[in-house]
């Protein structure tokens, strides 16, 4: 099997597992063994992947390009600003209360996930974030 074919097969397997786990998560209720199990499986898979890649040297920016001025480094601070704004507003809502006036992300999530499709989408989004953390 060529490298390209192997990559495709791995991606297809990963997507299949992620969709399957999301469908499973959608039919679970919090504080049950099922919910614990599906979340633990996802966390376990990412942990195994991180452990397998741990010895690989950490990626570093290509300093030669930067020194030549050939590449303008894209700005990353807007991501930091967005994250800070999200955390700040979450904290304001958490401490200000009541939830009816200032819903936190958790309370918004609880009401949105009455629909199983939304819960599956949220779980899939969380898995995609996990995959992004180990695939870089």
């Amino acid at each position: 099997m060529t490298e390209r074919a192997r990559r495709r097969a791995t991606t297809a397997a990963g997507v299949t597992v992620a969709v399957g786990l999301s469908a499973w998560a959608a039919v679970t209720a919090p504080f049950t063994a099922g919910a614990d199990a599906v979340t633990a499986v996802a966390i376990g898979l990412v942990t195994i992947e991180v452990a397998a890649r741990w010895r690989r040297p950490a990626p570093v920016p290509d300093l030669r390009d930067r020194a030549r001025g050939a590449v303008v480094e894209p700005r990353w601070w807007p991501w930091l600003a967005l994250g800070a704004a999200l955390v700040a507003w979450e904290l304001v809502c958490f401490f200000l209360g009541p939830r009816v006036d200032h819903p936190t992300v958790s309370s918004l999530y609880d009401s949105a996930t009455r629909w199983r499709a939304v819960k599956a989408a949220c779980f899939l989004g969380w898995l995609c974030l996990g995959a992004a953390l180990v695939r870089s």
């Binding site: 599906v38 633990a40 700005r75 704004a85 009816v100 309370s107 969380w126």
Partner: protein, 78 residues
Amino acid sequence: MAVPGRGAGAVVTSAQALSDALWAALAASALATVAASHLGRPRLARLSTLVRRIEANRVVYVAVLVGWMWVGWHFFAR
């Protein structure tokens, strides 16, 4: 969105409207940031670039991974 205490036909207060508007603005900003980072010759780093930057520092990388795990456990298990 049906947050506990907000039944159908309930009066929406200014605090609720402000809170909802801010959440909507933050969500829209997140989507706009993702879109902007994928445009041609982006001046904004993509999420993958950000992850590589984080991964370069092992301590920060582990902290981010633990944060990801906590988010999953908090929302889906507990």
